[in-house]
């Protein structure tokens, strides 16, 4: 808990992975990964299937322990033995399946496991804090007393992110936050990510959607076959990103594009 005592200044390095490797038997899921996260920045982790993104998230969330390498958090080496210890230090994870209880209302879900006054639930105080938090995030939840089952996908994502913020984390990890969402809802979640960043938190976002990644990420870290394969900025061209992800400038995506261009060229002449 000592690490939580002060808020990091904007731009200060919160989390730093040095040479982190994770092996499952003979398989190297991660090899010597380097990753820095600063306060008030959005870092996107991209990579193809099997690149090691999920393993890296699980290492950061305390689900897996790295085989080698060090994790520095707020300037001191740490180890996350359990999900609870990662959470306690200030790393909150929003998993892809959100893990909300559909039969409970928004307030109950936000405070689940951390209710105010356990022997005489302070519903009024919880509701006020829920509304205040949702207002700060400019989230459009119609009513916090409706069961979560009645909310849309984007609203549920908002509730899940708001819940992770309630524990006052320094870093939040979002696993595929926009994968199941429509156009408008995706935009709302991206806005939400920017507002979380503006509160001075470090955000790590995993996504397959290059458009979303480029829209919000300050840095894009590409993983390929469990290794770092370059760090890019949002204005890197799509081709370069795809080349880094697939590991070759000659890949199925570029071949398809070339074919389409050739067909278009052939049709015009």
């Amino acid at each position: 808990m000592q690490a939580r005592e002060r808020l990091p200044a904007k731009g200060e390095r919160i989390l730093s992975l040095k040479g982190v490797s994770k092996r499952f038997g003979a398989v190297s899921a991660l090899t010597e990964i380097e990753l820095d996260v600063h306060a008030g920045e959005v870092v996107a982790l991209v990579g193809d299937n099997g690149a090691g993104k999920s393993t890296l998230v699980k290492v950061l969330a305390g689900v897996h322990q790295p085989t080698e390498g060090t994790i520095e958090y707020m300037g001191r080496p740490v180890s996350f033995d359990t999900p609870a210890s990662a959470l306690e230090m200030g790393i909150a994870t929003v998993f892809q399946d959100l893990a909300l209880c559909e039969n409970l209302d928004v307030v109950a879900n936000l405070f689940l496991g951390h209710e105010l006054s356990p022997w005489r639930l302070d519903e009024v105080q919880m509701e006020v804090r829920a509304w205040t938090l949702l207002k700060e995030l400019a989230a459009r939840i119609p009513s916090v007393r409706e069961p979560v089952a009645s909310l849309s996908g984007g609203q549920r994502q908002t509730v899940a992110i708001a819940r992770s913020l309630l524990l006052d984390p320094r870093i939040i990890l979002l696993d595929e936050p926009t994968a199941a969402l429509g156009v408008a809802q995706t935009a709302e979640v991206l806005n939400l990510i920017e507002r979380v960043r503006d509160r001075g938190l470090g955000v790590i976002i995993i996504s397959h959607n290059m458009e979303d990644v480029r829209a919000v990420a300050d840095r894009i870290v590409v993983l390929r076959l469990g290794r770092n394969n370059g760090v890019f900025t949002a204005d890197t061209s799509h081709q370069d990103l795809v080349a880094a992800i697939t590991g070759a400038s000659e890949n199925s995506v570029s071949r398809r594009q070339d074919r389409l261009q050739a067909e278009a060229g052939g049709a015009s002449t």
Partner: protein, 411 residues
């Protein structure tokens, strides 16, 4: 609602039903989406009283209703425990046997072995807690489905009951003892039952007003005062009316008051404490509850232990009601009645939904049917068939309501 809207009323998309008409609209909306609440029970009770009182007017006689309440308390206490395990989407099929074992323990320890009564009661309750802990351990550590563990428990505990009763098979409890008096004779004094009848509304108004003040101070909307007062008045009239009618006969049994008290305590636990919130969460989505930092194993342990302990208490009450511990105690339809009562009252078999009051209302329905059929001199064969049919209907209503809730987005 003029001027600046309160914190929770800023979104124009949500309709807020404040007026009486609004309250009615909210109620019909809820029904349509499959959130039936207490409605099936109330409809059922009206139907039952009309049918049985036309067949035999004795059914609605005050003293018959007093007997009905005595009978409700024994199985009703067991049903309170069933609410706890159903809430988690689990089941305990051995509550009947457990109540039989507790009843046998009272007879053997108290009457035969001469152990003092409080100690015998304590031992019976402790054995219930122990068996509940065993089920929870089998579930938590070995992943044994509660359906199977409690089904084997049903037989094993019944065996234990027969074993400790020995060849005599039946032990009569001394009729002059306070235990039998409690189960057969004790009635609340009239002034006390009228006072208790007024208590719920008083608490309702008091809590309602203080919540209203807190919410206004916090900038939240609060329910209109008239609605609170109307609810309180309606509740008081209904309760005092019922108490008045019962006092035309013998009055309100102390045993029934104990049952209601236990229901009140359980209701508080489920709705106003972190434990209750965790029960709903584990029943709704176990994985989500675990990731929120809830100790899921401890929740299962608490539910199974509570269920078996309440089953043991129900067994003690039935021993006092029948003034005997016998091989028949806890067999027959006790299991089914306890489970059916919880489901009829509105606790879902699928977990995550339910209230302590469902046990109270459900057991009144079940016992009313059983009592009415007995008055018609129908054999137990017919009684079993009819009670089985009622349970089937209750489960069908539960599944249909659940499908409707899912399609209306109400979890």
């Amino acid at each position: 609602m003029s001027g600046k809207p309160t914190l929770d009323r800023a979104d124009a998309r949500v309709r807020h039903d404040d007026s009486l008409k609004g309250a009615f609209r909210e109620f019909t909306d809820r029904l349509r989406s499959g959130d039936l609440g207490m409605l099936p029970v109330i409809v059922g009770l009206i139907l039952i009283s009309v049918v049985f009182s036309t067949l035999n007017p004795v059914f609605l006689a005050p003293n018959n209703l007093v007997n009905l309440l005595f009978d409700c308390a024994t199985v009703g206490v067991i049903s309170l425990g069933i609410v706890c395990v159903l809430m988690l989407g689990e089941i305990d099929l051995s509550v009947g046997s457990m109540s039989g074992l507790a009843s046998a323990m009272i007879g053997v320890l108290w009457v035969n072995a001469g152990v003092s009564l409080p100690l015998a009661i304590l031992a019976a309750l402790a054995s219930g807690a122990l068996i509940g802990a065993l089920y929870a351990t089998l579930y938590n550590r070995l992943g044994m489905p509660s359906f199977v563990s409690t089904l084997s428990g049903l037989l094993a505990i019944l065996g234990l009951q027969l074993y400790i009763l020995g060849p005599t098979g039946s032990i009569n409890l001394p009729f002059a003892s306070p235990l039998v008096g409690f189960g057969q004779l004790w009635i609340l004094p009239a002034w006390l039952s009228y006072l208790l009848g007024a208590l719920p509304a008083a608490v309702m108004v008091w809590v309602g007003l203080s919540v209203m003040k807190q919410r206004q101070a916090a900038g939240l909307s609060s329910q209109p005062l008239t609605r609170l007062m109307l609810k309180a008045v309606a509740l008081t009239v209904a309760l005092e009316g019922a108490i008045f009618y019962l006092h035309l006969g013998r009055g309100v049994p102390v045993m029934f008051a104990l049952f209601v008290l236990l229901a009140v305590v359980l209701n508080y636990g489920l709705t106003r404490t972190q434990w209750g919130r965790s029960m709903f969460a584990v029943g709704g989505n176990k994985e989500a509850a675990r990731r929120s930092g809830i100790n899921v194993r401890r929740i299962y342990l608490s539910a199974f232990m509570l269920c078996s302990t309440l089953a043991a208490l129900g067994g003690i009450l039935s021993a006092s009601r029948l003034a005997s511990s016998s091989q028949q105690a806890g067999t027959g339809d006790v299991n089914l009645n306890a489970i059916a009562a919880a489901v009829i009252g509105g606790t879902s078999l699928f977990g995550g939904r339910g209230t302590a009051w469902s046990a109270v209302l459900g057991i009144i329905v079940i016992q009313a049917i059983s009592n009415g059929l007995t008055l018609l001199n129908l054999s137990s064969s017919l009684r079993y068939m009819i009670t089985g049919g009622v349970l089937a209907i209750a489960v069908i209503v539960d599944s249909l309501a659940r499908q409707s809730r899912v399609s209306h987005g109400r979890g």
